[in-house]
């Protein structure tokens, strides 16, 4: 048998073995056996030098060709087997993708507080500051400074919790506005969110509730500014599509006084049995008005030079409307079944 024939034989044997191999480890063995340092083909290559000039050329070429062909087959087969093995491994690693993930539970912000944050953010965007004040407030700031001196009928309308002599739990956040005006020169743009207290308890009244009041005092402020500001606020909280309307009203510290209604964001007035507006089409949202000139003067502002508007709203009631909560008392019970819905 000539060397060339032998090479052909080795090559065919190697190629057959490669085809038959079914693991990457077996292929590695084949590489050693057919192409390794002590493989027969390697031996043949090493011994080429001993051959005649004529033989050398033919044997050398076929040996090299055979090596390359075997290497090619090994590489191809290795790739194929590696891909298959990887696939098998991945199949084995598969999990039940429908099992729940590691929990990163979300907590919950109180519904009233959500509304307060939304409203406050809106006014901050308009350049308002946010003022807070004591909840245990003096008689003067809570009443007298707002034009409700001792003996005034409006005092009895707000069932007050009394503390030590001359101290009350504030019945509204208005004293914060008074404190702001007394400590600041115009322009004033401020909102005052906070807890307020009245001696009242039934399904629609709780002895504690929230208010957000706001105050703007500047040169040239009009009822149109009030309307534009509060309409934009209502759209911010209840959606771009709601309409607003002003109605005349009466409050102690404003003249003219108005109330602002928001068109029902649920039914828009089209549903006579709507749970949100009860068929009225409008929701009473807040009381407002142009700051009474006497209140401006009491604060030391020139009521000819400056005008202003003030407003007050109940974030608890706004939350009831927005989220469809039927009972105010739920807000303050700390019941997780309630809190976890927000």
């Amino acid at each position: 048998m000539t060397a060339t024939d032998r090479i052909e034989e080795l090559k065919n044997a190697a190629l057959a073995a490669v085809r038959a191999a079914d693991t990457t480890a077996a292929l590695e063995e084949l590489r050693v056996r057919y192409l390794g340092r002590s493989a027969e083909l390697t031996e043949i290559k090493k011994s080429i030098g001993k051959l005649s000039q004529e033989e050398r050329k033919g044997v050398g070429r076929s040996a090299n060709l055979a090596s390359r062909e075997i290497e090619g087959a090994l590489a191809a087969r290795t790739d194929a087997l590696a891909a298959a093995e990887r696939e098998a491994r991945l199949r084995k690693e598969a999990v039940d993708a429908t099992l729940p993930g590691v929990p990163f539970p979300r907590g919950h912000l109180h519904p009233s507080q959500r509304i307060i944050d939304e409203v406050v953010d809106f006014f901050v965007g308009l350049g308002y500051g946010v003022a807070e004040g004591p909840e245990a407030e003096t008689d003067y700031y809570n009443f007298t400074a707002l034009g409700i001196p001792p003996g005034h009928p409006a005092r009895t309308m707000q069932d007050t919790f009394f503390l030590d002599e001359g101290l009350v739990l504030r019945t509204h956040t208005s004293p914060v506005q008074v404190r702001t005006m007394l400590s600041q020169e115009p322009p004033v743009y401020v909102v005052c969110p906070g807890r307020t207290y009245r001696r009242d308890s039934d399904p629609t009244h709780t002895p504690m509730f929230h208010q957000i009041e706001g105050l703007a005092v500047d040169r040239g402020l009009t009822l149109g500014h009030l309307k534009g500001t509060l309409a934009a606020m209502a759209r911010h909280v209840f959606g771009e599509d709601v309409n607003v309307r002003l109605r005349p009203s009466y409050f102690q510290f404003t003249e003219p006084s108005v109330e602002l209604d928001v068109s029902c964001f649920r039914c828009g007035g089209s549903d006579a049995h709507c749970k949100v507006c009860k068929g009225a089409g409008w929701l009473e949202m807040l009381g407002a008005g142009m700051v009474d000139p006497d209140v401006l003067e009491e604060a030391g502002y020139d009521s000819e030079e400056y005008t202003g508007f003030a407003f007050g709203m109940g974030p608890d009631r706004m939350a009831m409307a927005k989220y469809g909560i039927p009972d105010l008392r739920l807000f303050f019970e700390g019941d997780l079944r309630f809190l976890r819905q927000f």
Binding site: G107, L126, L163, R195, G224, K227, P256, G334
Partner: protein, 821 residues
């Protein structure tokens, strides 16, 4: 104020559906509380004559009638027994719809056809009387519609009158208002009556309490027909307006009140001894009122008396003694004005609010008295056949005159933010009863005395604005004049709430007042404690104390959640706590003065007491967290999170990075061995710990692990201001070290000691394991520390070994730590 629309039409003409009317009133004047319907809403009521009347053959309580409806006879089953052959009755025909929405059909009642229904006064909306079928007099022609005599159906709108508009407590005021809205005319009935009755001056009038009674008029109407009830049209209107028809005299006074807004009282002249005295109540004086109750008077209450006894608590309610009754033939009519605040006080003192007191307490216009007296005299003589005295006794020492209020158009445009023409402003004000003068841009209005709310320019501007229509005002936004924003503290508090929510907790808002047991159960009622702020008039004993900590409200909530099946949970609240803070010695008077007037009296040339020190209450914002039971349930691949000291402490560390923890000093309501005081630098920020088991039990949480903390909200720094520190790109060298120390050695102290070495290479130190058990001696623990070293250049093992050796030596010296092999 209930306004029957058919009555309103007596004063002005309007062609509006009730919905539009309600809308107009709502948008231009007052809110409408409701719309009510009385009688027959749709259909026909005709006069029938009973031909036959007898018992129903199949029912004991029913009768059956044959009724002539004018040319045709029908059979009607009735529930009432009072009709008789020849009686004229109102019959509502089948197909008609009643006010409550029921539709009348031809029906069989117990086997007999019934064609329509004979009607009671209640069914017709005349009164609440449902005792029998209404019997009509001979002026009602058989077969004719009853509506030719009076409306068989009524729509009533209920106006929610604001306190500044007492003029709207009368039909005339409402008519004027609607006329102003519609820009049309209205008319006031012209009183007419015959005089020549017995003279009023047979009686005396003495007003002693002038300060409480600006005006008092008295006029006599004599020769009244006794025993009469008011005519149907009057009873019907009084009833529709929400009052109970009583007798002709009382109904006439009530009718005049409903019309004018001015309450009127009638005395039986025969029972009044000598004359009327208007005076204060006397100590010990008692009066038995019409409602049967006996009331004790005080000297702040105004009484209308005769020379012997009190007859009426002025403006509120009369006594039985001198009241007009069925037998009254001679009446003294009182039309008066009382001090509104005083009537309000009396009515509150007595817990008695009446149609009269509700009107008086707003402060009525004394000048309305003249018309009201004329009107009631006319009505009385009309419905009860009396003659009016020629003379009126009067007390009106200081007549109220109208006043002039200037109105600048420029000011109106500024306040309203819309164009206002002088001509239109003048016309609107005139429609409210003002006499408008001035010219060009400067108007002035003489205001009628019944509009006491119109005192200033701004008041007039409001009227002009609402009558033109607030819907005409364009929306505008003021330009931003200052940078707005949350203060750093407010931003911080908002972040605290967000972070706690993101940690899986739920935000609660609880009442800051609670029962006295709160401080007792929290073991905060000891001698050294500052005490609590009391609510003087709590709704119940459950709300007596203001909380000194947010904790008890959240504990109550946790217990409540447990009752309703929760397995635990995490709650947080950001809110105020309260502590008494008595004013400095000798400043009690100054404190009270400040609280009542807002003013602080100087103590000397430059000393002024601190306002905060005069408040009497110290108020602080706190953030409180309560973890109870299973805070977070486990999953198939994660263990549950149970409440415990370290869970709570981890949250504190999240809110207040760099806090230090002082064990053994926390409040008594905490577990003494699992709690700490939290310090932010040198400031005491709050506390953290597991609840004392005794406290847990008191709050109904026994058997549950409960951990909590409370921090000053203002000291929390969940997102401290960042500051860049340079770093090097060289490999870091980690090393671990386990040491054995006595159980009592605080790990925190060991870490502080290591950090105290000031090694420049040490970039991180942490505790990664603590072990007690068989591998270490009894009373000892193994603490495993992990270190990370890094230098300017790659550190050699030798360099790190030197540092580790320093650490081992320091721990050995300070804590007796031995390296665990």
């Amino acid at each position: 104020m209930r306004v029957p629309l058919s009555w309103l039409r007596e004063y002005l003409d309007f062609d509006l559906g009730v919905e539009r009317l309600v809308e107009l009133f709502t948008l231009h004047s007052q809110e409408i509380d409701g719309v009510y319907r009385l009688g027959v809403a749709e259909g026909e009521v005709v006069v029938g004559e009973v031909v036959e009347f007898g018992p129903h053959p199949n029912a004991d309580r029913l009768s059956v009638a044959k009724v002539d409806l004018g040319g045709r006879e029908v059979q009607i089953v009735a529930g009432a027994p009072n009709p008789y052959p020849g009686a004229r009755v109102p019959v509502v025909l089948p197909g008609s719809v009643m006010a409550d929405g029921t539709k009348l059909k031809k029906a069989k009642l117990r086997g007999l056809e019934s064609y329509g229904m004979m009607m009671s006064e209640r069914e017709l909306g005349i009164s609440a009387d449902h005792g029998g079928i209404l019997l009509l007099d001979g002026s009602y022609e058989v077969g004719q519609p009853v509506a030719e005599h009076f409306p068989v159906g009524e729509t009533v709108i209920d106006i929610d009158v604001t306190p500044n508009r007492p003029d709207l407590w009368g039909m005339i005021g409402v008519a004027r208002e609607l006329a102003a809205i519609l820009q049309t005319d209205f008319r006031i009935p012209e009183p007419s009556f015959e005089t020549g009755g017995e003279p009023t001056s047979d009686f005396g009038l003495r007003v002693e309490a002038e300060d409480l009674c600006p005006r008092y008029d008295l006029r006599r109407v004599s020769g009244l027909t006794p025993g009469g009830e008011a005519p149907l049209w009057m009873r019907r209107r009084v009833h529709a307006a929400g009052m109970r028809p009583i007798n002709a005299v009382v109904d006439a006074t009530n009718y005049a009140m409903l019309e004018t807004g001015q309450p009127i009282h009638a005395f039986d002249a025969e029972k009044v001894r000598e004359g009327i005295v208007v005076r204060r109540g006397r100590a010990g004086e008692k009066i038995t009122l019409l409602d049967g109750s006996t009331r004790s008077l005080d000297d702040e209450m105004l009484v209308i008396a005769d020379e012997e006894r009190g007859l009426v608590i002025a403006g509120v309610m009369g006594a039985e003694d001198a009241e007009v009754g069925p037998g009254t033939t001679d009446a003294l009519i009182e039309v008066a004005t009382f001090a509104g605040q005083n009537i309000l006080r009396t009515s509150q003192r007595l817990g008695l609010r009446t149609d009269a007191s509700g009107r008086f307490e707003r402060g009525l216009d004394p000048n309305t008295v003249d018309y009201a007296m004329e009107r009631v005299a006319g009505l009385l003589s009309g419905v009860a056949g009396g003659r009016v005295a020629d003379d009126t006794l009067g007390h009106y020492p200081e007549p109220v005159r109208s006043w002039r209020v200037p109105l600048r158009l420029s000011r109106a445009r500024l306040l309203l933010g819309m164009p206002v023409e002088a001509e239109e402003a003048a016309r609107r004000l005139a429609s409210l009863g003002c006499e408008v003068g001035g010219e060009g841009e400067e108007l002035s209005a003489v205001v009628p005395t019944f509009r006491r709310d119109l005192r200033r320019e701004a008041d007039l501007i409001e009227e002009v604005g609402r009558l033109i229509g607030l819907d005409k005002i364009p929306e505008a936004l003021p330009g931003a004049r200052q940078p707005g924003g949350l203060t750093p503290e407010q931003r911080n508090t908002r972040l605290v709430r967000r972070v706690l929510a993101d940690l899986g907790l739920s935000e609660a808002i609880t009442y800051p007042f609670g029962p006295g047991r709160w401080t007792r159960d929290l073991r905060m009622d000891g001698d050294g404690e500052p005490g609590v702020v009391r609510v003087e008039n709590p709704l119940s004993a459950e709300g007596r104390d203001l909380r000194p900590t947010v904790l008890p409200g959240l504990l109550d909530a946790a217990a409540r959640n447990r009752t309703f099946g929760a397995r635990g949970g995490g709650l947080f609240e950001v809110g105020r706590v309260f502590a008494p803070s008595p004013p400095p010695k000798g400043l009690d008077e100054a404190a009270l003065h400040f609280r009542m007037t807002g003013k602080v009296e100087a103590l000397g040339p430059d000393a002024e007491p601190n306002r905060l020190s005069l408040m009497g209450v110290r108020e602080e914002a706190r953030v409180c967290v309560v973890l109870a039971g299973t805070v977070r349930p486990g999953g198939w691949n994660v263990p549950e999170l149970r409440a415990g000291y370290f869970e709570a402490k981890g949250m504190v560390e999240r809110l207040l990075p760099g806090a230090s923890f002082e064990a053994g000093a926390a409040p008594d309501f905490l577990h003494p061995g699992r709690s700490a005081v939290v310090w932010a630098g040198n400031e005491r920020a709050g506390w953290v710990g597991e609840l004392h088991p005794e406290v847990s039990e008191k709050f109904g949480l026994d058997g549950w692990p409960v951990a909590a903390f409370e921090l000053e909200a203002g000291l929390c720094r969940p997102d401290p201001e960042p500051r860049f520190r340079p770093f090097v790109n060289v490999p870091a060298a980690p090393r671990d070290l386990a040491v054995v120390v006595k159980e009592s050695v605080p790990a925190g102290g060991m870490i502080a000691a290591v950090e105290g070495l000031g090694s420049e290479m040490l970039v991180e130190v942490r505790v990664f394991d603590v072990y007690e058990g068989s591998q270490v001696p009894e009373g000892y623990k193994s603490v495993a520390l992990g270190f990370l070293f890094q230098g300017e250049e790659t550190l050699t093992d030798e360099e790190v070994d030197v540092e580790m050796e320093r650490i081992v030596v320091r721990l050995g010296e300070e804590f007796g730590a031995r390296v665990r092999s």
